[in-house]
Symmetry: C2
Subunit: 275 residues, 2 copies
């Protein structure tokens, strides 16, 4: 039973929206400044789950979050896609021309790059968190400064939306995962997606051989990412997501991959949110 | 002939060090606030080359930089690895205990996470650029605030190093590329590495088939990264780096991949900096 969910950022953030959509609005939201502290709250039993952004269309994979899941032996128990719609918001009764400065997270500023090109009078300042800026503007009642964030943030902190859907890519999807201490939320026959990690020697054809195995076992790749192991030159770690129709195919692939790779690890087995 | 090199950040940044090591100290350094403006300076002929970080051990690939190279049809003409050694620096004659605040780029703060855990009295504040904070501390002569940056930055701005090599991963390598408007710096027989981009239909085994081709053509993968194409569901773009001993093997692979993939593109052919 999920009672408390840790999110990165404060209420009104996109992580909060994902928690609302995935768990409903009855759970307690634990606001965390960093993904690191969100994971700490899970490890110390303060919270029951963490909502974590894992990849988006602009930055690709958020590797530090993969590392957090891996290092602490946590489990991905579900995934959720959110169409990130950025709004520009400020204290009420200000026009776009009156906004002199926009403060937001670097990624949000990057995602809205084209919009700001048409408003060169706005100074862009990097800040820690999207929703936190919105709250600060409301708390300090400061004018001429705008935040970028969700409609939920504007509602929670009483700001007015000056411009809607200002991100460059109009359909701006981010993939979030739900992370817990234990695995296996769902019955095997409902599991149709998994996140894997393994290592390979740097040898010609070694990855091709692994992909052949996966293909032979009727697994579909939805994501692949190599990461050189800094401590061990010429060793590579791979993060791979696969989908499948039948859990027994995946089971077969797992048993082969355990033998053919090093440090084979299942980071999560869950239900594909995009079947 | 390279006369002017654009870097992200200001003098004293790690991009500046890479330029010094790759081009020597005689070139003019063009300081750019963002990678975007660095690329703009190249497109408008203001500069002859851009130094660009492309991947590190913690964040993985810097996808927005791949997108910049791809979108503007630029060419990777070389690569350079730098072992990023972070120093904590402040105005002279201050002890570690006297430092109350550290301002730096989010990635630098992240890379030094463990160090700051042992100094919890230091408030960490995200800022735009590592070296820029060092310069600001020197310019405004503000005490009790420290910057994270290179030894070069401490020398250029007259700050004192309070702690050395404070990054968590002691051997903290970042891969930089040299980007130009045109390709082919080097004779074909010296080229032994290439960066490729192509797209595949989401079909079981499609990537495995491509990797088999590459392996058959004696190419070694040193990097692979998938990126879903947001505008076109079920299409994937792949960024792949390969090394090879003989350019004619690569040439053969190119001609097959052109047929077997969509939008096949060589982002660069250059000399492997880690043979």
């Amino acid at each position: 039973m999920i009672k408390s969910v840790a999110i990165q950022g404060i209420k009104g953030s996109f992580h909060h929206i994902v928690s609302n959509q995935y768990f409903g609005k009855e759970v307690t939201i634990q606001e965390c400044l960093t993904f690191d502290s969100a994971v700490q709250s899970l490890l110390t039993d303060e919270t029951d789950a963490v909502v974590m952004a894992l990849e988006n269309s602009i930055a690709g994979s958020i590797i530090p979050n993969y590392a957090l899941i891996d290092t602490h032996n946590l489990h991905i128990v579900g995934e959720h896609y959110l169409d990130i719609q950025h709004c520009l918001m400020a204290l009420p009764n200000q026009s776009l021309q009156e906004i002199e400065e926009v403060r937001s997270h670097p990624m949000a500023l990057l995602q809205c790059k084209d919009f700001f090109k048409t408003y060169p009078h706005m100074k862009l300042v990097e800040d820690i968190d999207t929703a936190e800026v919105a709250k600060r503007i409301a708390d300090t009642e400061v004018k001429k400064i705008a935040a970028i964030g969700s409609q939920l943030a504007s509602e929670l902190y009483g700001l007015e939306i000056v411009a809607k859907s200002i991100q460059t890519i109009k359909h701006n999807e981010t993939r979030f995962v739900i992370v817990k201490r234990e695995n296996h939320e769902v019955a095997e026959n409902r599991i149709n997606k998994a996140s894997l990690k393994f290592e390979l020697e740097h040898k010609r054809g070694s990855l091709a051989a692994m992909l052949n195995v996966m293909s032979d076992c009727h697994l579909n790749l939805t994501k692949i990412q190599s990461l050189p192991k800094i401590e061990t030159p010429w060793k590579y770690a791979f993060f791979i997501d696969v989908t499948f129709d039948d859990y027994k195919h995946f089971k077969k692939a797992k048993s082969i991959m355990t033998i053919m790779t090093e440090h084979f690890k299942v980071l999560g087995e869950y239900i594909n949110a995009k079947p």
